[in-house]
């Protein structure tokens, strides 16, 4: 039996004595795109970071392809939130993408021109070919997001974990990311994204995980996004209008002429 790209059992994460994640269980299936959605502060980013070992967890088991992360790191790529770095850093888009290759290059050895070419190819894949030499602060928010994606692409991993890739990006970047997700799927890869927008989640992703400190529901988008589940996830915070919007955006729902 082939192992799942990611399986989490009973994950508990606390931050300063406050529980952020409570007995989270989830399974990610290969070759599909999955979105993690939930209200703010629900622990979505925490879930990703805890899975990757970036923050300590109180308890729980996390397996990537049936193994602990440190054994299969080369098969997993992480795309952090854009805000997590200082974009004023003196590096170019190409330099950032090349960082995805550092592990392959190895300790102390320099970045060679062939690595730079590989970086350029990854940048071309996300539509940023002519921006390769630009210093990253001279890129727009959406372009910066795509640089992060290109870096993950350069790793040639199988599982991609992305933290809010669609947050505050322009239309062109949104299209580029969607195209990228589609391509990754076609190549047999698996994608998990923390997503902030209920309106688009059914359209962009195959599966959805509803998260509010604990996993409320997971499965195919059409099955999971029921008013009942949404109420359980968002509680009173989800207004009637939001519910209506989500209803309409579900695949198969009646569309306006």
């Amino acid at each position: 039996m082939k192992s799942l790209p990611l399986e989490i059992r009973s994950l508990n994460v606390a931050y300063h004595r406050k529980m952020v994640l409570w007995d989270a269980d989830l399974k990610i299936h290969p070759g599909r795109t999955t979105a993690i959605v939930g209200p703010n502060g629900a622990g979505k980013s925490t879930l990703l970071k805890a899975a990757l070992g970036l923050i300590p967890s109180a308890s729980g088991e996390i397996l990537f392809y049936g193994e602990p992360l440190k054994k299969v790191r080369s098969r997993v790529a992480y795309v952090p939130q854009r805000e997590s770095v200082d974009w004023d850093f003196p590096v170019s888009a190409r330099d950032v993408v090349a960082m995805g290759l550092y592990k392959k290059i190895g300790w102390c050895l320099p970045v060679r021109s062939r690595h730079r070419r590989m970086a350029d190819e990854a940048l071309a894949d996300v539509g940023l070919a002519e921006f390769a030499g630009r210093q990253i602060s001279q890129l727009s928010g959406g372009q910066q997001q795509r640089v992060f994606l290109a870096r993950a692409l350069a790793q040639k991993a199988e599982l991609h974990l992305m933290d809010e890739p669609f947050a505050s990006v322009d239309a062109a970047t949104e299209q580029a990311i969607l195209a990228l997700l589609k391509r990754l799927k076609e190549q047999g890869g698996t994608v998990v994204c923390v997503h902030h927008d209920l309106d688009t989640v059914a359209e962009y992703f195959d599966d959805v995980i509803l998260l509010n400190m604990r996993v409320v529901a997971q499965g195919p988008a059409s099955e999971v996004l029921t008013p009942e589940n949404l109420r359980k996830t968002y509680g009173a915070r989800l207004s009637l209008l939001d519910e209506a919007v989500v209803d309409l955006s579900r695949p198969g729902a009646p569309r306006e002429p």
């Binding site: 970036l54 790191r73 992480y78 850093f89 790793q155």
Partner: protein, 436 residues
């Protein structure tokens, strides 16, 4: 004056030693300091410097018990290292065990450790033999007292810093830029960080003699900050930072020969400050003056294009001879600003004005230039309309900004992307007419 030339021409052996040692320290500090700056921990150097004092004084007091000469620099350096590292550990501990932030932890360790050092210094001052004076030199710095063996130590330390930073350049770069990502990929982030901090400690120890405890932080902070104005490429920044550090040290030592009695360390720092000021203003990439010129140039280009477009559009709507008043009505221009641009365009040979100056007309070249700009602008408007669901009423504003960023190549792509119908049809002057 004669002594100045002696120093400058490096005739004195002692001077050569001092200059060499100081210069190497400056370069090493600039290099290590660059990573500190990128890590946003510049002021850690201040805490580190102050935290070495108790170690130095304690080592001094304990020297006899351990059979060392209290004057031995290596022995004192050992004490300095241990208390410096302890200080950094204390900073981490405070951050981990409480909700106090970095700034508080740094200030606490800095002041408490330094206080302990001062208390022990007061004990040393009571000892017979006036040995405290030598220690005070470590507080203010006294490179003139550098011996050949001290200089060898500086050389070895600087070399080590350079080699490690050179070998681990990409590792340190990644660590400073995106620690979380580095962790996920499997880099040993904690050990790398510790190594980097270790280099900073090493540079601090080297600096004790050159500029003293209180000013070491200056050479860790000022040269890298100055270097950043000259380049957007990390490797270049580290090189420039080392250069600025080294040059400041040299200038400081030479000034010290000219102005005896003034503390050399302070002169070195002031030289660095001067170089910072120059970089701040004239730095090629981010210097104030440079940016001012770039922005002024961009604003000028923008204005020129606005004027040409406005003239073309006015001409399209009615008469090829366009009145200044009609132009003024198009955009919120100031009359002088418009007039000056019109005369510039006339000088360029793109348009002609009538003798009274209230009418303009584009000539052949001006017309094709304006046409190109207008086409750019309208193609972009159409792209935004059909591809980005932007409300028509907003298009003009947005388009104005984006078009001036457009590459001629990108324009070509837009023309290819666009529907053939749009290209065959006359490009409409008002995008609102495009609605189905």
């Amino acid at each position: 004056m004669e002594s100045f030339w002696r120093v400058l021409l490096l005739q004195d052996h002692n001077t050569r030693v001092v200059l060499g040692g100081a210069c190497l320290f400056g370069a090493a500090a600039g290099l290590a300091g660059t990573f500190l700056l990128l890590r946003k921990r510049s002021l850690l150097g201040d805490t580190l410097g102050h935290a070495t004092l108790p170690g130095i004084t304690f080592a001094f007091l304990m020297a006899d018990s351990f059979g060392f000469s209290p004057r031995s620099f290596l022995w004192l350096a050992l004490g300095a290292t241990i208390s410096g590292v302890t200080g950094m550990g204390a900073v981490l501990m405070i951050r981990k065990l409480s909700h106090l932030k970095d700034d508080a932890a740094l200030a606490i360790v800095l002041s408490v450790f330094f206080g302990a050092g001062i208390a022990m210094l007061s004990a040393i001052q009571q000892l017979p033999g006036g040995q405290a004076a030598g220690l005070e030199r470590l507080i203010y710095g006294n490179p003139a007292s550098m011996t050949a063996s001290d200089a060898w130590f500086v050389l070895a330390a600087s070399f080590l810093v350079a080699v490690i930073c050179g070998c681990l350049l990409k590792e340190f770069t990644l660590l400073c830029f995106d620690e979380a990502y580095a962790m996920t990929v499997g880099w040993p982030v904690r050990p790398l960080d510790a190594l980097l901090m270790g280099l900073v400690v090493l540079v601090t120890i080297v600096g004790l003699q050159t500029v003293g405890i209180l000013l070491v932080v200056a050479l860790l902070v000022i040269p890298p900050a100055a270097a950043r104005f000259w380049s957007d490429d990390l490797r270049t920044v580290t090189l420039v930072a080392s250069a600025i550090g080294g040059i400041s040290a040299v200038v400081g030592v030479i000034s010290s020969a000219l102005l005896p009695g003034l503390p050399t360390g302070a002169l070195i720092v002031l030289s660095a400050a001067l170089l910072f000021g120059i970089s701040f203003l004239l730095g090629k990439k981010r210097g104030l003056l440079m940016r001012y010129f770039v922005e002024r140039e961009a604003a000028r280009r923008l204005h020129r294009e606005h004027v040409l477009r406005a003239i073309f559009e006015c001409a399209e709507e009615s008469d090829p001879v366009v009145s200044i008043d009609a132009l003024l009505a198009k955009r919120p221009w100031k009359k002088n600003h418009l007039a000056s641009e019109v005369s510039l365009l006339a000088d360029e040979g793109l348009l002609t004005t009538d003798p009274s100056g209230s009418y303009v007309q584009l000539n052949g070249r001006g017309d094709s230039e304006a046409r190109r700009l207008v086409r750019n602008h309208r193609l972009w408007e159409i792209y935004l309309l059909t591809h980005a669901d932007v409300a028509p009423s907003r298009v003009d504003r947005d388009a104005d900004l984006i078009e001036h960023v457009l590459d001629p190549r990108l324009v070509q792509e837009l023309e290819d992307i666009l529907d053939d119908k749009a290209r065959e049809r006359l490009v409409p002057s008002n995008p609102e007419k495009l609605q189905p």
